[in-house]
Amino acid sequence: MIAALVILSQQPVLPALWEFPTEKAERTHFEIVVKLPRMEGRLRRAVSAAGHLAVYQFSSLPLRVGEGGPALHYSETADFLRFSLTTTAQRQKAALRTLAELLTQPNLPIEVELTKEGGYRADRSSTANNGYLDNQQLKDAWRFAVNSSTVSVGVSGQFAPGAMETDWKGFQFEWPLPPNFPPSIPASVVPLNEVKEISSFKLSMSPALTTRAELAKVLVAANVMAGGKECLAWRVFREEAPLAYQFGAKLKREGGWWVLELEAETKDAEGWDVAKASLAKHIAALSKEDLDVAIGNLKAQLITGVSPLGIEGIGSGNIVANAADRLYLRTIWKATTGMDWSEYNIYSDARQVSVNEIKALLEQWLKGD
C-alpha cells in the first residue's frame, strides 16, 4: 500500500489536454490557453514580456512544425495567454512536443528593458525607461503564470482518439507546480498605452453563459450583428453610413466574465453616434430573414468550414470563424465551465433560437452593460 502511494506521488502532474478529433480535417490545430492568476503591475508586464520573447526566440519553430511560414501565433488578453498553432497530421507530434518545450523551458533573455510607453525591449536602447527585469525575475514570473494548473491544451484534427493524449503523457517534460506566492517583483503599475492611428469603437456586454443553448444564442446574435455581407454591421458601417472598413464580433473571457464585443475600426471618428442609431433601427426591425442568414453563416463556420466576412474581422479570438478560433473557444469553454460542445449540437441549438430572443440580446448589446 505504501509502495503504491509512493508511485502515485511520483506521477508527473500534467496540464489538461483535450482531444477534439475532427473527420476530414486537413490540418491539426493546437490551442494552448493559459489561465492567468490575478496579477498586476510589473509582474504582469514580466509575464507579457516573457511570453512574447520566448515565442520570438523560437525562431526555428516554423521549420520544425510549420508550413513554410510562421505557424505559431501568440496573443494575450487580461485573462489568458494564447498559443495557437496549425500544422499537418505528419507533424502534429513534433508540434505538440515543441509547444510543451516552449512552455516548460522558455529561452528567456538575460535582461529586459521596460519602456516608458508600457512595452519592453530586449536591449538597453531607449534613453528613458521604466527599469529592468532580470532573467530570474522573468523565469519566476513565467513559472507563476505557466504551470500545471494554469495550462489547458485543446487539439483538433484527424487522429485516433487517445493518440494525442498518449503523446502528451509520453513527453518527459517537468511541469512546474503552481508556486505558493507570487514572485517578489516590485509592483509599479504602468499603463499599457497603445498608439493607434485608427480609432476603435466597441460595444460590449457580458452575457450570462452557463449552458450550451445560451452559447448558441450568443453565436447567432454575433452573426446577426457581424457575420457576412447581410449582417447589421455591414449594412450600417459599409453601406448606409460608410464608416468602418473593418469590424468584427468577438466572444472572449475577461475578468472572469464572458464578454461579447463588437469592434469597428475607422479613421473617421465622427459618425459613430449616427451608426449606433442606425443599428438600433435595424435591431428594432429584425426579421426572420435576418435570423435565417445568421444561422446559415453559423452553419458555414461550424459545419461547412467556410468563414464568412466580418465575423473574422479584427484581432484574435474571433468566435468560431475558423478551426483554430473554434478550438480556442471550445478549450476556454471547457476550462471555465467543465462542459464540452460540438459543432453539430451548437448548430442544432442555434436553430431553436427565436427572433425575439435575439432582438432582446442585441438591444442589450447596443446599450452595453
Binding site: P242, E289, G296
Partner: protein, 370 residues
C-alpha cells in the same frame, strides 16, 4: 491496329480499374480557361479570375479595378443572402495582375455560383452615388494595410515606378472615377483572354467543365498580350529588401525563392512575400520587427540555407494547394498568367535548384541586405 487495341484493352483489364484524373484544364478557342479539380471536401471553391490584358493602368485610374471589385461583388440583389443563408459565402480580391471572385459553397450551391459568374461577366454600369460610397471604403481599407503590405507597396513602386503601383487605390483616385470609365475597364477585363474559371472540391469534372465553358464560350477576345514591367533594380528599406524577379516559371526565380526562404532563419520575425507573375514581379524578404538586420552573416556556401530553403519552398507550394480554395486560387491565378504555367512545373523548378544557382541568388540577397 487491332492488335494494339487488344493489347491496350488487355492492359486495362489487367490493371483491374480505370481511374479518372482528378483535374481537367480546358483551354477554349477564344482563350478562356476552365480548370476543375475534384477532391473530397465539405465545400467547393468556385473562382472567377479576371486578368488585365489590354488594360493600361496609370496613376489616373489607380484603384479603379479594385473599386469595380467592390461594386460588382454586391451587384446581384439577394445573391449574398442566397449564399449565406445556406452556409456559403462570396469573397473578392484584387491584385496587380488579376481580380478574383470566389464562391465558397456547399456542393448544392454550385449552380448558384455559376449563375453569379454568368451575371458578373455581363456589362456593368454603376452610378456616382455607389462610386462615392465604395471609394470611401477603399480609403478606409488603405488605412488598414498591414506593415508588410505597406512595405510591399513601397518596394513595388520603387522597383517598377507607375507600372508597379498597388491595386488598392486611394479615395482621392477612385472617387474621381466616371461610370463610363468603369464600364470600359470591366469590358476589357472580361474579354475572353482575361477570363479563367477555376474550381476545386466535390465537383463532377465533366458537368462543371461543360457548364462553365458555356458561360465563357461566347466572350470575344481583345487579342492583347501581357506587357513586361521594367525593373529599375533591387530596393532596400528599413523593414524589407525587394528583388526584381523574372517570370515565375524561370529557374532563377525558383533559386531566389529557395534562397529567401533559406535566409529566413537569419532574420528575426521573418516574412517572405511573393506574388506569382509572368511579367516581372518582386520577392520581398523582411522582418516584422522594428527593422531588418543588415549583414545577416549568411555564407553563400552554407549548406543549411540550401536545405532549409528548398524544404520551405516546397512546403510553401504544398500549403498553397492544401485546401479547395487554395488550390482553385493558385491553379487559377497561374492559368491567368499563362495556361502553360502549372504548379507541377514550379515543384520541378524548386527540386532542380542546384547549389550553383542558389549561390548566385544568396549573393544577390546579401548584396541587397548590405
Amino acid at each position: 491496329m487491332l492488335a494494339l487495341n487488344s493489347l491496350l484493352l488487355a492492359s486495362a483489364i489487367f490493371q483491374g480499374q480505370y481511374s479518372e484524373s482528378n483535374q481537367l484544364r480546358t483551354i477554349l478557342p477564344n482563350g478562356s480557361v476552365v480548370f476543375v479539380e475534384k477532391r473530397d471536401a465539405p465545400y467547393a471553391s468556385i473562382q472567377l479570375i479576371l486578368g488585365t490584358r489590354g488594360l493600361i493602368e496609370t496613376p489616373a485610374n489607380h484603384g479603379y479595378r479594385h473599386l469595380l471589385e467592390h461594386l460588382v461583388a454586391r451587384s446581384i440583389p439577394k445573391h449574398d443572402f442566397q449564399l449565406e443563408s445556406q452556409g456559403g459565402a462570396l469573397y473578392a480580391y484584387t491584385a496587380r495582375d488579376w481580380m478574383r471572385f470566389e464562391w465558397r459553397v456547399p456542393p448544392e450551391l454550385i449552380p448558384v455560383a455559376l449563375g453569379g459568374i454568368s451575371k458578373f461577366l455581363k456589362p456593368q454600369v454603376f452610378g456616382k452615388d455607389l462610386i462615392e460610397r465604395e471609394s470611401k471604403m477603399i480609403g478606409l481599407e488603405r488605412s488598414h494595410l498591414s506593415p508588410s503590405d505597406r512595405s510591399s507597396i513601397e518596394i513595388w513602386s520603387a522597383i517598377f515606378g507607375a507600372e508597379g503601383q498597388d491595386a488598392v487605390g486611394t479615395w482621392e483616385s477612385t472617387s474621381k472615377a466616371e461610370p463610363e470609365q468603369l464600364t470600359d475597364i470591366w469590358r476589357t477585363i472580361t474579354r475572353s483572354n482575361n477570363v479563367v474559371i477555376s474550381a476545386s472540391g466535390p465537383i463532377d469534372i465533366k458537368t462543371f467543365t461543360d457548364d462553365a465553358s458555356s458561360l465563357v464560350r461566347g466572350l470575344a477576345s481583345n487579342n492583347a498580350v501581357r506587357s513586361n514591367r521594367k525593373a529599375a533594380g533591387n530596393v532596400s528599406t528599413n523593414q524589407a529588401v525587394g528583388l526584381a524577379l523574372q517570370s515565375i516559371e524561370k529557374d532563377a526565380t525558383a533559386a531566389m525563392m529557395v534562397a529567401a526562404f533559406g535566409m529566413t532563419s537569419r532574420i528575426p520575425s521573418p516574412f517572405v512575400t511573393f506574388t506569382p507573375t509572368a511579367s516581372g514581379g518582386v520577392l520581398l524578404l523582411g522582418s516584422l520587427g522594428t527593422s531588418i538586420p543588415r549583414g545577416t552573416g549568411a555564407d553563400e556556401s552554407d549548406v543549411a540555407i540550401y536545405h532549409r530553403g528548398k524544404q520551405l519552398a516546397l512546403e510553401w507550394l504544398d500549403s498553397k494547394l492544401m485546401t479547395p480554395e487554395g488550390s482553385a486560387e493558385f491553379n487559377g491565378t497561374l492559368l491567368s498568367l499563362s495556361p502553360a504555367i502549372r504548379p507541377r512545373k514550379l515543384r520541378e523548378n524548386f527540386e532542380n535548384v542546384n547549389y550553383e544557382l542558389l549561390k548566385v541568388a544568396v549573393v544577390q540577397l546579401k548584396e541587397a541586405l548590405r
